[in-house]
């Protein structure tokens, strides 16, 4: 998933804009989640203070990431977990495949994990002959459809219930009764997946937070699939991004205080799983082995750069819902596992600017993302930084850079600016005294959607000076 789709971003976006089902789904979903978030954060008296605290905790952790990672690793090992490191996607998949082989695993259930999507884990496991089943309802549908998620926390935001019913009929031979409505489809998926859970040898999960001072993993979820994936199978493999650390349990509580409220508007997710090592001697159940795979895959390269702040992200999805561009085009157009404003920074930052240089352009820089972010990440600032990098590396259309450069030459020489102003106003009054509806070249895009206004015959400055004023 960290190789871009063959189609350029803008072509994908244009397709999304004319996809009626997607447009309907996006309107409903992003609207509801935004309302829910505003209510949820507004509901707690210390909501804004908790955001400040969470931001400070994330900033402190990222500034001292080496120390806290070491502490986490030592404590997780002391609790009996095996800790591994994967430098990139290929190393991560190779590692998980070899762990599965070593434990003689045939059947795998997966909880939701962004990292596993990022490294394309399923393909590798299936190629090694294992049965892998996604167990989050949305991810399950995605897997059956061979589709990709379009939202960090609502993977099938782009599908209607009719499309899901069709998938269940086609792939699982569901009857009309099974897919009569959303509750029936949910019950049907529960039955299908319960059998998978009970028969699985290995459960794979993501990690929302890793607590340094106890070596604990925290996984949040609503369906119970995360609990089952990390409890029923005899082996649990957790994939975590390098930056998922919080110093201690009290800091974890603060992060959790803003996470679900920002994401879905819930006070807490239904299940907050906190796992410290494998099953202990007197535990009646739980996995006998816990493997924690710490994945870098471009993350450490962001440390101490102007993009470091994106590592504060707690993956709530609020910036997606708040973003007017995301609201129009949905997640797929971005072509990355990490869509929306956070993805427009994270994807080129971690996976390379060259193939992803379009994404930082996909913003009107309105700042709604920064406003919605529970840890107040300055996404617009980093979009600008990436645009500057793209400009420096010649990754933007030449007419933009050249045009701005010519403009700058005039704009730093008032006599030339006045001359250019007079000439363009003369031409404009001659060619389009009432404005324009069909401009050529780069401005054609403007007039496709809007009238271009007429220029003033006389500028304000000319009028002002005519009155003899300075």
């Amino acid at each position: 998933m960290n190789s871009p789709s063959p189609l350029p971003f803008y072509t994908r976006a244009q397709r999304a804009l004319v996809d009626d089902n997607l447009q309907k789904a996006l309107d409903i979903a992003t609207g509801r989640m935004m309302v829910a978030r505003r209510q949820a954060i507004g509901l707690i008296a210390d909501g804004e203070a908790a955001r400040d605290q969470a931001r400070q905790i994330r900033a402190h952790t990222i500034a001292n990431l080496g120390t806290y990672l070491d502490q986490f690793v030592a404590n997780a090992q002391a609790a009996g977990a095996h800790v591994h490191f994967a430098a990139d996607a290929e190393a991560a998949t190779r590692l998980v495949v070899s762990l599965a082989q070593r434990h003689e695993v045939r059947r795998i259930v997966k909880g939701k994990s962004m990292v596993s999507e990022e490294v394309e884990l399923n393909h590798a496991l299936e190629a090694a002959g294992m049965r892998v089943v996604e167990t989050d309802l949305g991810e399950y549908v995605i897997q059956l459809d061979k589709d990709v998620p379009s939202h960090i926390i609502a993977p099938i935001i782009h599908k209607t219930k009719e499309q899901v019913a069709e998938t269940f009929r086609r792939e699982l031979q569901a009857t009309d009764t099974d897919v009569a409505g959303i509750p029936e489809m949910t019950a049907f998926a529960r039955r299908m997946l319960r059998a998978e859970f009970l028969a699985a040898d290995m459960g794979i999960s993501g990690v929302n937070f890793a607590v340094a001072d106890s070596g604990s993993l925290c996984l949040v979820e609503n369906e119970g699939n995360g609990r089952l994936s990390t409890t029923v199978p005899r082996v649990h493999v957790a994939l975590m991004g390098l930056e998922r650390i919080v110093p201690n349990a009290q800091d974890l509580a603060v992060a959790l205080r803003v996470l679900a409220r920002s994401g879905t508007g819930q006070p807490l997710t239904v299940y907050t799983n906190m796992i410290t090592g494998p099953r202990r001697d007197d535990d009646p159940d739980g996995p006998s082995d816990l493997h924690i795979v710490i994945v870098d895959n471009g993350r450490s390269r962001l440390l101490r750069t102007e993009l470091e702040e994106i590592l504060y992200c707690i993956r709530c999805g609020a910036c997606l819902n708040a973003c007017p561009v995301y609201q129009e085009i949905g997640g797929h157009a971005y072509g990355s596992v990490y869509p929306g404003p956070v993805g427009a920074v994270y994807t080129p930052g971690a996976f390379g600017l060259e193939p992803w240089s379009d994404l930082p352009q996909a913003s009107s820089l309105c700042g709604a993302c920064k406003e919605a972010c529970p840890v107040r990440i300055d996404i617009p600032r980093m979009l600008l930084a990436l645009r500057a990098q793209a400009e420096t590396h010649g990754l933007t259309p030449r007419w933009v850079g050249a045009g701005l450069h010519v403009f700058r030459i005039a704009a730093t020489r008032p006599w030339l600016f006045r001359l250019a102003s007079t000439v363009s106003r003369l031409m404009a009054s001659w060619l389009g005294p009432r404005g324009f509806d069909n401009l050529p070249g780069p401005l054609a895009g403007w007039t496709r959607h809007r009238h271009f206004p007429a220029m003033a015959r006389q500028t304000f400055t000319e009028r002002f000076r005519e009155k003899g004023r300075r």
Partner: protein
């Protein structure tokens, strides 16, 4: 209506102000600048218009053309430094450029960074200056139905929301109604509207639908750039609504 604590610097109320016209207002909406001058002069503030104004560099900054943006910012800063009077800008975007972006663009040159900060400290968007610095509640008169759209850089860059709403709250004779999703971007975004016109157009479409649903016949804004975009969209869709700079509405009423 509650107002934020005044951002006014301690000391006497200013009697002079420099107007940074901004290139878009100068070329596409000179009436808006005239209105700013009228409002300020009626409040007893002498307005001067420094010579040599071009563009503050905001579009280049947004495009990531840092060197070009920095050059234009230096030019603008230099011409505003010639006078110690506070600077009034009829645009949230250009104000944000001078107040926040310029110093960041010039950060590798400490002398210029300091000059940028000095200018930033006395730069105000028009409604900010009118309400926070001058404490104006002009007795305006208007007609019809007015709604306010909050332009992004003013709202989220500068924290401007109460000030324009306060000014509109004093308009007599016109009904002021709420615009649904008033704080959602109209889709302009500078070069965004030209580089990704269909996405921008979809956002504009939504904004036009909300404007039509609001029942307003006039939309008040603090940025002419967003006004051009929205007016162009409304005209194309045959929606008979006028988008105006808020200074014009304030100036009108008190004439």
């Amino acid at each position: 209506m509650s107002l934020p604590a005044s951002a006014a610097p301690p000391g006497p109320r200013p009697t002079r102000a420099q107007l940074l016209v901004t290139c878009l207002v100068d070329h596409f909406a000179p009436d808006a600048a005239e209105a700013v001058v009228q409002v300020l002069e009626r409040a007893g503030v002498e307005v001067i218009v420094p010579d040599g104004q071009t563009c503050c560099g905001q579009p280049a900054c947004n495009a990531g053309a840092r060197a070009d943006a920095a050059a234009m910012a230096r030019h603008t800063i230099a011409l505003l430094e010639r006078d110690p009077a506070p600077i009034v800008v009829p645009s949230g975007s250009c104000t944000d450029m001078l107040v926040h972006q310029a110093a960041a663009l010039l950060a590798d040159d400490p002398a210029w960074e300091a000059r940028a900060r000095e200018v930033a400290a006395r730069t105000y968007e028009f409604t900010q200056f009118a309400v926070d610095v001058l404490g104006l509640s002009p007795a305006c008169r208007g007609a019809g139905t007015i709604a306010y759209h909050a332009c992004c850089h003013g709202l989220r860059g500068l924290g401007i929301d109460a000030q324009p709403r306060h000014l509109l709250g004093t308009v007599d004779g016109a009904a002021v109604v709420a615009l649904p999703e008033a704080d959602t971007c109209c889709g302009f975004g500078g070069l965004f509207a030209v580089k990704l016109p269909d996405i921008s157009g979809a956002m504009l479409d939504r904004k036009c639908r909300q404007i039509a649903a609001s029942g307003a016949d006039t939309i008040a804004v603090t940025d002419i750039s967003c006004a051009m975009h929205m007016q162009g969209g409304l005209d194309r869709r045959g929606i008979a609504v006028t988008v105006r700079h808020i200074a014009e509405i304030v100036a009108d009423g008190a004439a």
